[in-house]
Structure formats: structure tokens, C-alpha cells
Symmetry: C2
Subunit: 322 residues, 2 copies
């Protein structure tokens, strides 16, 4: 088995790389190191089977140059596309960021797959494709309309759309995973890391964007990787679309703030904003249905809050807090 792993030096990508190497795959990681880091690929098991190339996967020509020699050795490689701009507010301020890193990477990956005859794709999509359906709607894979409220979500949906067309035209197998919020290490972004860094700067006080009632589903990165590989093994059909997430309705930003404060600065005050949304493009509350994945046979072991608490420990350690 072999994999071309786009965005493989990032938070989720590097964890997936580790797991693939553990099971003996040859892995080519392509990453522009915008958010990913070479250090995340150190100390990998079976590292002789790991190759890393720094390249801009949004450029079809650059991507083709990198993939061609790997494809010559491993003609049946699966392409796993985990690259994206993970900074949602940055993408709202400048849509060129999501256009390039979240969408054009998908466009380029599909171009290269068509050129080289690579037939299998696994893609990291997002619950952000649904947009804001209110706290009462249970978001299933077939829910619509899909009207994302961030450019990040828009470019993930745009990517899904292109993959749908490619599945019709030239792919043998396409897997689309809609991720919830994912937590764990190596943390490069996200609410837990933000809170920890804020508290290091001003240990007495944690200012939270929004009123703290925003509620979201969180999954630990280790379980996410497990779920992706499970779906890949069990799902059938040319095009498979799965929500991946915890079974609960999520936890609140206030729960996360409290968990971080308890671990990092127990005497700090938590100061909430007044808005229901943390930022433009933030979906304040949503309910995410993972029944399809449960029917396939996979369930997470951790609840949203348990995943968050474990990630708080891990990220505090990553940040050098004893």
C-alpha cells in the first residue's frame, strides 16, 4: 500500500502519516509548510518509508512534478487530501487564502490524479459545508441546502462538488469525510491553543470571543484518524460521504474555557463577550448526526468534553506547561 498525503505535515495530516507508516505503507507527504511543520514528521515509525517534499499543492504543475516519480514506483497510490487553510477568520478577511489552500489544492489534486491515472481519493471535508441550520436541525449527510457561512466552508463544499464530478468522470473510489472540530496534538490552531496562549500572556484573565454558549462537537484526532481508515475499509460504492464526530451534541466554549483555566491558570477570571457568535462565519450551535457511521460499525470512545479535556492536557504539555 502507498499514499500520496497532501497536507501531511499539518495537525491531522501528520497524525494520519504516522498511522499509515505504522501499518507499513509507503507515504509521500507534500506540504507547503504554511501551517504544517517538518518537526511533526520526526520520530515516525518506519521512517524509511516516509518521503517529504515541500511544495505548493495548489499548483497543478508543481504537484505533478512531485507526484510523477512516486507514481512511477507506486502506481496504485491512494491520494489523501488533508491540506486546507484552517484559520477560518483569516479566510473571511481574505478569500484568496481559502481559494488557494482549501480549494485549488483539491482542483490540482484531481488534475494530477486524472493525468497519472490515480483512481482513489480520500478527502477531509468539514461540517462547515452545512452552514447555519439552527440548533434544532440534526445535520445528516443528505441535509440541505448547503449554504456555508464561511469561505472555509464554501471552499470545502466547492471541493466536494469537484470530487463528485471527478467520481462520475474518472475516479474509481472517492471518500469524503466531513470532520467536526478536531482536537489534540500537534496543535497548530484552534480554541484550546488560543486559550492557553492567551493565559500565558495574561495569566489572571481569559477573554473569550462570544458569550461562551457556542456549542460544537469535538473529536480527538486519534479517533478521527481511526474513523477515516475504518470507513475506507468498510464503505462501499464509488462515492462515499460520511460525517465523522462524537455522538453527543457537543460541548460549549465555556466548558473549554473552564477546562483550560483549571489546567493552566486556576485563579484566572474568565471574561465572556456578549455576542452569540465568536466571529463572522462561526456557527454558534449545531447538531451533527453520525448515525451513518455508527451503522457502518464505528463509534468514538470519547465524548466531546472528554476529547477536549484530553486535548487540554496534551496541548498544555506541548506548550511546555508542567
Amino acid at each position: 500500500m502507498s499514499t500520496i498525503l497532501i497536507g501531511g505535515a499539518g495537525f491531522i495530516g501528520s497524525r494520519l502519516a504516522r498511522r499509515l507508516l505504522e501499518r507499513g505503507e509507503h507515504v509521500l507527504v507534500i506540504d507547503n509548510l504554511c501551517r504544517g511543520r517538518r518537526a511533526f514528521l520526526q520520530d515516525m515509525p518506519g521512517h524509511a518509508h516516509l518521503e517529504f517534499v515541500e511544495a505548493d499543492a495548489a499548483d497543478p504543475d508543481a504537484l505533478l512534478r512531485v507526484c510523477t516519480p512516486f507514481h512511477a514506483r507506486f502506481p496504485t497510490a491512494v491520494v489523501r487530501h488533508m491540506a486546507a487553510n484552517s484559520d477560518i477568520p483569516a479566510g473571511i478577511a481574505d478569500p484568496a487564502v481559502d481559494l488557494r489552500d482549501t480549494f485549488m489544492t483539491t482542483y490540482a489534486a484531481l488534475q494530477v490524479m486524472k493525468t497519472l491515472g490515480l483512481k482513489r481519493l480520500a478527502f477531509a471535508s468539514s461540517s462547515a459545508v452545512y452552514g447555519d441550520h439552527g440548533p434544532e436541525t440534526l445535520l445528516r449527510e443528505e441535509s440541505g441546502p448547503l449554504l456555508p457561512i464561511s469561505n472555509y466552508g464554501a471552499m470545502k463544499l466547492a471541493s466536494e462538488a469537484l470530487i463528485g464530478a471527478a467520481a462520475e468522470s474518472f475516479l474509481d473510489r472517492a471518500l469524503i469525510f466531513r470532520f467536526p472540530n478536531v482536537v489534540g496534538i500537534p496543535a497548530t490552531h484552534g480554541v484550546i491553543l488560543d486559550f492557553i496562549r492567551k493565559l500565558r500572556t495574561s495569566p489572571g484573565r481569559l477573554e473569550v470571543l462570544g458569550n461562551g454558549t457556542q456549542q460544537k462537537a469535538y473529536l480527538h484526532v486519534e479517533e478521527l484518524v481511526e474513523a477515516m481508515l475504518f470507513i475506507e475499509e468498510r464503505a462501499s460504492g464509488k462515492l462515499s460521504l460520511y460525517n465523522i464526530g462524537p455522538e453527543d451534541a457537543g460541548c460549549r466554549v465555556s466548558d473549554i474555557a473552564e477546562a483550560v483555566v483549571a489546567r493552566v491558570a486556576p485563579r484566572a477570571d474568565i471574561v465572556y463577550g456578549t455576542e452569540e457568535r465568536g466571529w463572522v462565519g462561526d456557527v454558534p450551535k449545531f447538531r451533527y448526526c453520525v448515525d451513518k457511521l455508527a451503522r457502518l460499525g464505528w463509534k468514538p470512545r470519547l465524548s466531546s468534553l472528554e476529547a477536549v479535556r484530553r486535548a487540554v492536557e496534551e496541548i498544555a504539555a506541548q506548550e511546555g506547561l508542567c
Copy 2:
């Protein structure tokens, strides 16, 4: 009232331009003349209110240069985005075509609207965003999953997604119209024109792609324009999404072939292929629900077959057949 009409020299765009001029609007038409033609904008009513600029609307800088002086005179112009690659097989052969003409035009339009503070957008989307749900599924505005099977449909869905995010972030009003197949003149593409041109080349025989059972909803362009303006006037909310189409389940390709042959070459043989699909990315049969539009108060007068028959007459005349 004033309008910036992107793709306004094309089939649908030029008909919309005429209607807007008739009601006294100032209209700036921007078109790259890839498929549109200057001739389509001749003999317009109130032509002193019509401005035309040949420019590539997929280029945000070029589009901004064109829109800025018009915006200085008409600061509250509505942007109506009708530009797209309308050749679906061409977009499957080379996805760069739909990327540029169908998607990047939307991206650029939104960039320019944000820069200039233009707040109202009307967008020509497509039933192709739904993908292939089989002949039994009634496709409603909220149907999902949205997995288009052509790059055209993918780039229309990608455009909808970006507009959703823009509505959340900086637009006051966004209208997304999902078009069925639209027929009429000035015809630049489509099955009726193809059939007429084939019959002019070989009058004794009409070869049809696919087995003729593909069934689709057709609307006459005049009714489509009427529906768009009706929705614009009546619909409320920041973001409105409407299917526009006839109330019937559509007519078959064989009905169209017969109508064209009867008009153009009554003694010609019609020779069908064996495939259910005319081409990769062709949805063979679908049912399109227009109840939401009917509830708003608009219904078409023509059935799919009546629209086709009227268009056959019009296109035959356009092509110089007496």
C-alpha cells in the same frame, strides 16, 4: 435602478438586459464574448442606458477597473451574474474552463462587490448542482447531498457556497436561482441548436447522443427572465434560493428530436445511441420541484414541450430556415 450585468451578452444575459432596459434601468454589460456576442445587444430599447465593456470577469482586477466608474455614478447597482461556461462536455474535458468562466467569475464578482460596497447580488445557478438522485427523487431547494456529476454543476455549487459565505459576511441581499434547461433565442448552444445544425449538414439523418430517453425540464428564456425579476421583487430574507422551472416532469430528448425534425427536415431518420446518458456528466432523468416558486406566486405558462416547440420555431428562424 441600475445593474452590473456580468455575462450580459450571452443567451440569457442579453434577454435579461433587454428586460431591464425596457423598465428604464441603467445597465452595464460585462462579457468576455467567449460565447456572448455584441450583436445580441443591438436594437435594445433605451439603448442610451446600455453600456458594454468587453472584459474577463474572472479577473478581479479587470472587473474592478470596469465596475469602479459605473459604481461612481450608480452606487446602489445590483450585480447580476449570468456568466458561465455553458458547454458541459467541454468543462469535463478541461476543468480549467469551468474553473475560470463559471467559478472564478463568481469569486471575482464577490471580491469587487466587497471592495466597492455593492450589497445586492442575483446569481444564475443550475439544477446541475443536485447531481444524479435518480428519476424518483423530487429535487427541492433543500435536497441533499449535493454531489454534481459535471464540473459545470460543481462550479455552480462552488459559486453558491461562496455566495452563502458572502451573505453572512457583507451582502445585504443574495438571490440564487437554480435554472433548468433554458431554451429560446439568441441560441448559442444546446440540444435544439445542435440538432438543427446537424440536420443542415446531413438533412437525411439525425444522430442523437444517448438513447433518447433522457428527460429534462425546459423553460423558455422569456419566462425565466420573468421569474427572476418576480422573485427579486417578492422574496424576502438575506439569502433566497429558488428552483425555477416548468411544473411538469420535463420532456424527452426524443420529443425534442421529433419536434426539430418535423420543423426542419420532415423526412429525416432519427438514429438513437444505446447509452442512457448523452455524455459523461449528463443527468439522464430528474424531477425538479418548483413548489416554492409557486407559493411565492409565479407559475410558467408553457410546459417543457411547449417551450421546446416554441424555441424550435425561433431557433429555426434564427438559423435562416424559412
